[in-house]
């Protein structure tokens, strides 16, 4: 694979995606939501800070995911439909390079989106308490990795199946993958749900455990996070990203354009 080719495709992908007005809207809503959290003052300063963190981190996660799905959902199908992929793939460019370029170009925009939201939250917390809450970055970093996993998954689905089905499958995978292990154990303890729980367990074993990327509660309550947890979870996420990109690549490799 030629890294320069990947970067070339990534750069034009980012440039193209920046023309989607819907992304600005999602970003703007995220920005406003975090700004609004500053006015959540119900139970005094300690509780307010927890509330700001909780509310804002939930917002960053939610809008990050919406942004991710919106940016990846039509990224490759649009190029196939508009046939801008023709002159590109007729050049000395491998389809694998094209897929990686598409992924990285959009991931770069997700990075910028989350970075701005993260800095906004960080500044709000600093202005309210005069304390630097660096731990919010840990949580947002894992959300960022999670967005990569979701994005790669959308990319893999979207190269083969229709847009509504891609959306449904992604949401299904995210919800099942987001079930915490404790919740699965609780379900397993219910005798009437055995078949359903068995199916969910199997699916959950295959798809990424999205609950691993959510350390919001620890960050909100300032619990100490094991130093190994962050790199291990990031590695876990990157492995899934890689697997989904390989899947996207395989499905595009033999696709007739």
């Amino acid at each position: 694979m030629n890294l320069l080719n990947i970067l070339r495709v990534a750069s034009i992908t980012a440039e193209k995606s920046l023309r989607q007005k819907i992304l600005y809207l999602i970003f703007f809503f995220g920005l406003v939501l975090i700004a609004l959290s500053n006015f959540l003052n119900v139970f005094g300063l300690g509780a307010q800070i927890r509330l700001i963190k909780d509310f804002s981190l939930t917002g960053i996660n939610l809008f990050g995911l919406i942004f991710t799905i919106a940016i990846y959902l039509n990224s490759i199908p649009n190029e196939i439909e508009q046939k801008t992929i023709y002159p590109l793939l007729a050049k000395p460019l491998r389809r694998s390079e094209y897929v990686w370029g598409k992924f990285l170009g959009n991931y770069y925009l997700i990075f910028l989106n989350m970075l701005i939201l993260a800095v906004e939250l960080f500044l709000i917390l600093k202005l309210n308490t005069n304390i630097y809450y660096f731990n919010v970055f840990n949580c947002i970093f894992l959300y960022f990795i999670q967005c990569g996993v979701v994005g790669a998954m959308v990319l893999a689905f979207s190269t083969r199946i229709s847009y509504p089905l891609t959306l449904s499958l992604t949401l299904f995978a995210y919800i099942i993958g987001g079930f915490s292990s404790v919740y699965i154990q609780y379900l397993a303890a219910q005798p009437e749900n055995q078949i359903g729980v068995f199916i969910i367990k199997i699916i959950k074993d295959i798809i990424p455990h999205f609950d691993y990327f959510n350390i919001k509660n620890s960050v909100v309550h300032d619990y100490i996070i094991e130093p190994k947890y962050l790199p291990m979870t990031a590695f876990y996420g990157i492995t899934y990203i890689w697997l989904f990109i390989i899947l996207a690549e395989m499905s595009l490799r033999n696709k007739d354009l």
């Binding site: 023709y86 002159p87 000395p92 007739d256 354009l257």
Partner: protein, 313 residues
């Protein structure tokens, strides 16, 4: 390697459902030599675009193989030797002409400085130097097609594959594109282009291939298809006075020519001298004698008809 394009029993079958298959290309054997201008002609839906997409690696063959300068079609090495223009222009319309040409050129590993020189050169060749900073979305259809040729030429490829390059253009646009192709021909670039406009092919190509319903009906040098319709000649002559019925009968001419001063008839070569003698006796003046040439159109329609007859029988 003297062969630019070679296909061996190339086959493409589109499978839509379990019971719906479309055989778009059926054992296509094609040979295009270096320096040839090869016209790939056929009616709509004949399989021209499918063949081109297979050559450029945009689709995968169901069977057979295709080679570009000895490299497997679709491989990176093969793509390095190709400039491709699709039937309809599909480019990133938010970009400027020079930026997009830089972008496409970068995949060939051409340095930025060399690309700059090359961009100026090809924009001059396709006569759109003044559009260098225009956005793609602001270009007219004819301009867009010229841009398409420019992007295909960015790497100075030895082979150009053009899919219906004049499709959808007005007569002026068609002429401009034809002139550009002729310019490229003079430069010695091998050109493989599909079309269903026979006059265009007649003007530009050295060799042609006729495809119908996925099958190659014939291929060869254009001259072979335009050979004399042996042994007939078109004879044009005039009378100083309108011919009478008696004169017409003597010359074995139809009575409908009565009162016509200028006549044109087709005669067999072996009868020509005898007929001219007779005309002289009647004081007729010979204006021209032209051998009857079968046009590409004749060949094309005969082959298509024949193909359809064979299919129905």
């Amino acid at each position: 390697m003297n062969i630019a394009i070679l296909t061996e029993n190339l086959k493409k079958n589109y499978k839509y459902t379990k019971n719906k298959n479309i055989l778009a290309l059926d054992n296509l054997n094609l040979e295009v030599l270096k320096g040839d201008i090869f016209g790939f002609i056929g009616p709509n839906g004949a399989g021209k675009t499918t063949a081109i997409k297979l050559l450029t690696g945009l689709i995968q063959p169901t069977g057979g193989k295709a080679y570009i300068f000895g490299e497997l079609a679709g491989s990176i090495r093969a793509k390095k030797n190709i400039g491709y223009l699709s039937e309809i222009a599909y480019y990133y319309d938010f970009m400027e002409v020079d930026k997009l040409l830089h972008f496409y050129g970068s995949f060939f590993g051409i340095s930025k400085i060399k690309r700059e020189g090359r961009i100026k050169e090809i924009l001059k060749m396709v006569d759109m130097t003044e559009k260098i900073n225009s956005k793609i979305k602001d270009l007219s259809k004819g301009m867009l097609q010229r841009f398409g040729i420019a992007q295909a030429l960015i790497s100075n490829p030895p082979l150009l594959i053009l899919d219906e390059p004049t499709s959808g253009l007005d007569p002026i646009g068609q002429k401009e594109i034809k002139d550009i192709i002729l310019k490229l021909k003079e430069m010695g670039i091998t050109i493989f282009f599909s079309s269903h406009k026979l006059t265009e092919v007649e003007h530009i190509c050295d060799k042609i291939g006729i495809i119908h319903k996925g099958k190659m009906l014939t291929q060869g040098a254009l001259g072979e298809f335009l050979k004399q319709k042996e042994p007939f000649l078109k004879l044009k002559f005039s009378f100083s006075l309108p011919p009478s019925l008696e004169v017409l009968n003597k010359l074995n001419l139809p009575e409908t020519l009565k009162d016509n001063l200028l006549c044109e008839i087709t005669v067999h070569q072996k009868d020509l001298n005898h007929f001219i003698d007779k005309l002289r006796l009647e004081n007729a003046q010979i204006i021209s004698i032209i051998p009857e040439i079968s046009s590409l159109e004749d060949t094309f329609f005969n082959l298509i008809k024949e193909g359809e007859k064979n299919e129905s029988s």
